[in-house]
């Protein structure tokens, strides 16, 4: 029997990082008291009218340019009509037939190590729309509360083609998109606060066959839930199909608690949204000069930066990709190299990707919140390069910096007496003492036991409190034992 091919497309709602709402002047700040950030327009009082926020359009243009899409010179806002208490106007202003962004693509890196591969996901479109308010079903004595603070927050809905073939690819796509929208500064990326929400369309087919019927998993606000929800959905759909039950098009919700998806509504009870062009808003016209202006202000994009890291710093594709996974990380890295010098580009990469990343990960911090700043890390690498520090001691200095035991690398080295011993006379004296005290080990080495050599090195380093230059210790010890 043929195996099943998993087909996944993702729609992402990205809250745009504008100060005010998409069609009103009310602020978009998260976490305010309910209904304190909703003005007459957001409340849909009789007679109020929407006025488009140019900053939101600029975000859309920036995104379109960043993914190599077509930015429509003329797009149209449409009304999506349905009744719900947190939708004050009884319609959502969105874009339907003519979106502001069409096409484009995103490079994703899937898996790790030997399994790692790269892939390009095509994007269908991205359009501007307003967010709805929130219905609060708890703590209201059996009634529902409505908070309209979020109503009118600008969203960019980004729709991918069904190009993903596994939950890992879906997560890689979501991560790449998440990094990109933060990279170009259009979204704060805060998934807990709902700034970046994914819907996954999942279907199955036999390879080579037409697309199967899809089910849409709504509102996934973490990468883990995205993966879990898709994995569950895939198992469920395969089981249905193999039991001979056809898939019915539906919208489903994922319950992280139980790990299962449950049907919210099927196609039969889907809304007829009665889209039509919003007569309160003129078509959105974007001139060449505006596009050129946004283009000029665009930061170097991940792909270009990765290529430059490889050519300018001689990094491997893997290192360059890792360091350009986010703009903060890339900027951090370059600031480290600026201090340590380009000749140290590779050790700088290792420190950022391995030591710093591990330490950040351990405390669940973002690189922006690193207690060790790029200048400090840069001088640390420089002190290794000029042999002031051994790698091992450098880790101690790093730890000291992390814990705020000092602000400058040199001060910490000085105060804690961590300077590496490179004076061969001093090292020889240490070696002589160790050889004198460990006659048995010396005999073992001379009898051919290489292990004894390492034990002797250990003894010397111990005597040097770890500060002796390991390479010199090795060389001098071997000379003495000959």
């Amino acid at each position: 029997m043929n195996s099943w091919e998993i087909i996944i497309g993702i729609e992402t709602h990205v809250q745009l990082a504008t100060v005010s709402k998409i069609f009103s002047g009310a602020p978009t700040m998260f976490g305010a008291e309910p209904n304190t950030q909703a003005c007459a327009v957001d409340l849909a009082l009789p007679g109020v009218l929407p006025v488009l926020n140019k900053k939101a359009v600029e975000c859309a243009i920036r995104f379109g340019l960043a993914i190599g899409a077509d930015v429509a010179r003329r797009s149209v806002f449409a009304r999506k009509n349905y009744f719900y208490p947190d939708l004050p106007k009884g319609y959502q202003i969105s874009q339907f037939e003519l979106p502001v962004v069409s096409g484009g693509q995103l490079a994703i890196a899937v898996g790790q190590g030997d399994q790692a591969y790269e892939k390009t996901v095509r994007l269908t479109r991205a359009h501007l729309e307003e967010d709805a308010g929130k219905s609060l079903h708890e703590d209201f004595h059996g009634k529902s509360g409505i908070d309209l603070n979020r109503a009118g927050t600008p969203l960019l809905e980004i729709v991918s083609e069904p190009d993903m073939r596994s939950s890992d690819e879906a997560v890689a796509y979501a991560k790449a998109l998440h990094a990109l929208v933060r990279w170009i500064g259009i979204c704060d990326g805060n998934m807990q606060e709902g700034s970046f929400r994914c819907d996954a369309n999942v279907s199955m087919r036999r390879p080579g066959q037409p697309l199967g019927t899809r089910r849409e998993i709504k509102n996934l606000n973490s990468f883990r839930f995205l993966k879990e929800a898709i994995d569950y959905e895939v198992r469920w759909q395969i089981n249905e199909l193999e039991e001979g039950r056809p898939i019915v098009q539906a919208t489903v919700l994922f319950d992280p608690g139980s790990g299962v998806t449950r049907t919210m509504r099927t196609k039969e009870d889907a809304h007829d949204y009665r889209y039509f062009p919003d007569p309160d808003l003129l078509p959105l016209v974007i001139g060449e000069d505006w596009i050129a202006q946004v283009q000029a202000a665009l930061p170097e994009l991940p792909g270009a930066k990765k290529a430059r890291f490889m050519s300018e710093y001689g990094l491997s594709a893997y290192d360059a990709a890792t360091l350009t996974a986010g703009l903060e990380m890339a900027d951090f890295y370059e600031a480290v190299v600026a201090v340590a010098g380009k000749a140290q580009a590779k050790p700088c990469a290792n420190w950022v990707m391995v030591d710093l990343a591990a330490r950040l990960n351990k405390e669940d911090r973002e690189i922006g919140a690193s207690p060790v700043n790029p200048a400090q890390l840069g001088s640390l690498v420089a002190r290794i390069a000029d042999q002031t520090l051994s790698n091992n001691i450098a880790k101690k200095v790093f730890e000291a910096l992390w814990n705020g035991e000092g602000t400058s690398v040199d001060d910490i080295i000085e105060v804690q007496g961590l300077k590496q011993i490179t004076d061969s006379g001093a090292i020889e004296a240490l070696i002589d003492a160790v050889l004198a005290a460990n006659v048995a080990m010396v005999s073992e080495f001379k009898a051919g036991k290489e292990k004894a050599f390492n034990a002797l090195v250990g003894q010397v380093m111990k005597a040097a409190k770890g500060k002796a230059n390991p390479q010199q210790v090795n060389e001098l010890l071997r000379q003495k034992l000959q």
Binding site: P46, G47, N81, P88, Y91, F276
Partner: protein, 491 residues
């Protein structure tokens, strides 16, 4: 005082021969005497009106008065007015007190005008007779057994009965011009986008336009000076340089003030193939008015508006479509009427809207919902939009040959209360001459031009985009040479 123009009232206020408080009291007294019969006002608030009048008197005393300072104006109850109940003629908003001012209200306030009250109207401006108002029909001051027209029927009746010096109205398919014609006053619908729609409760957003209703073209021009202008809060507001609409009125012009003006008479309104079933009495009066325009020096050319017969059907797709969406916000959740007993959310919506809206509003919401539905959108909505473009093209073609199009405003004079209420299609046809203008977004005015069967007849002047000042000037020249606009019903 009863026959004073706005200019004369302003002069009297400036000369202190009357104060704004006295003037306001005079109108309020007249309202309390005549409104119980006419029902032109939904809300009168003497306390607020007199407070404004006192402020106006102080401003006059400081020598800071403008042309409208201290003059009592009636506001159609479609304009949100801070602190005033703003009902839009509906039970749905019968308890709604607006927390903000419409741009039009804000501007008239800034000019120092006194709000004398909120006028009755067809519910959500949907109607041509003022009979769909939740607050009862308005009576025509010329004959209380007849309708004043609609939807701005309260404003038209208030001006005709001298319950206000002038009034604001809104026009989606003829709602300023048709009641102006039926009540014997002058009313102007400006080019779409000239008057801000912010705070004007939306019926059909792409067609709605506010405008002045007054005794004369001169008064309308003065009022429009303080209503029009770009508003950043309305995205469809036009960034057109501010205009003095009164600028041409005082120009000396001799015996033939309209020399060189080319009047277009559409053969679809006048020819043998006249399609609209105009009342012969009305047509006769209109022909006499055209003769007067010729006597003032204008030339007449025949033009054609071949798609005008499609305007009513196209309008009754587009306007209800937009209305069905615009009126969705009236759901009983945040403000306005809410049904008292409901089982769940859906029941709340159903009962609130079933009880809060009247029959005509519900009819249009149903039509609008239908024409936007999946599978019908192309056949109805898109088709109607195509017709709309054809109609605009017809006018563009006509305006190559003429400067203004003349014709009847309404095919009939004021009809009896209840006469057309049971037959929506007959009612819709009352707007057969006015609707195409809204579809094209053009400016047009109606002014009184005589009587048929003792009832006023209106002449409609349709101009090209932004020709308001010229339309008002031409009507003004006619009114300088005739006295129809000075006739008042006996009350």
């Amino acid at each position: 005082m009863i026959k004073s123009s706005l200019k004369q009232l302003a002069a009297a206020l400036a000369a202190k021969s009357v104060s704004s408080v006295e003037l306001t009291q005079w109108y309020l007294e007249r309202i309390s005497r005549l409104n119980p019969e006419l029902n032109a006002f939904i809300t009168v608030d003497p306390y607020r009106s007199l407070a404004q009048a006192r402020a106006a008197d102080e401003r006059i005393a400081r020598g800071e008065a403008g042309p409208l300072t201290g003059i009592p104006l009636a506001q159609k109850d479609i304009f949100c007015t801070k602190g005033w109940r703003t009902t839009c003629g509906s039970k749905m908003l019968s308890n709604f007190v607006s927390p903000y001012d419409a741009t039009v209200i804000e501007r008239l306030d800034a000019a120092g005008a006194v709000n004398i009250g909120k006028t009755n109207m067809d519910e959500f401006a949907m109607g041509s007779s003022n009979e769909t108002s939740h607050f009862g029909p308005v009576k025509n001051p010329w004959d209380a057994s007849r309708v004043p027209g609609g939807s701005s029927g309260g404003s038209a009746a208030a001006v005709a009965a001298r319950l206000a010096a002038a009034a604001t109205g809104t026009d989606t398919g003829g709602s300023i011009r048709q009641p102006a014609a039926l009540c014997g006053i002058t009313g102007l619908k400006p080019t779409y986008g000239v008057v801000s729609r912010y705070g004007m409760i939306a019926f059909a957003s792409s067609l709605d336009q506010g405008g002045p209703m007054a005794h004369s073209a001169e008064d309308c021009a003065l009022l429009l000076n303080h209503m029009a202008g770009f508003d950043a809060r309305d995205s469809t507001s036009l960034e057109h340089p501010a205009e003095e609409y009164t600028r041409e009125l005082a120009v000396e012009s001799g015996d033939a003030p309209l020399a060189g003006v080319r009047i277009g008479l559409p053969r679809e309104f006048f020819g043998d193939d006249e399609q609209s079933g105009c009342d012969p009495g009305v047509m006769q009066v209109v022909q006499a008015a055209i003769a007067e325009y010729r006597a003032l020096g204008a030339d007449v050319v025949e033009v054609s508006l071949p798609n005008s017969k499609l305007s009513v059907p196209a309008y009754y797709v587009i306007a209800p479509a937009e209305a069905s969406s615009n009126l969705s916000r009236f759901d009983g959740v945040r403000y306005g009427y809410r049904a008292s007993d409901y089982a769940d959310l859906n029941d709340l919506y159903c009962k609130t809207r079933a009880e809060g809206f009247g029959a005509e509003v519900k009819r249009r919401i149903l039509i609008g919902t239908y024409v936007l539905s999946h599978g019908y959108y192309d056949a109805y909505y898109l088709q109607a939009q195509r017709i709309r473009r054809l109609i605009a093209r017809d006018f563009a073609e006509a305006f190559r040959q003429c400067d203004v199009i003349l014709g009847p405003t309404s095919p009939c004079t004021a009809f009896r209360l209840g006469e057309k209420a049971a037959d929506p299609v007959q009612m819709y046809l009352s707007d057969i001459y006015t609707i195409a203008v809204n579809l094209a977004g053009l400016p047009a005015l109606s002014h009184p031009c005589g009587f048929a069967g003792g009832l006023p007849v209106g002449l409609q002047l349709i101009g090209d985009y932004f020709s308001e000042a010229r339309l008002l000037n031409w009507a003004h020249r006619y009114q300088l040479n005739t006295d129809w606009h000075t006739r008042a019903p006996e009350l």
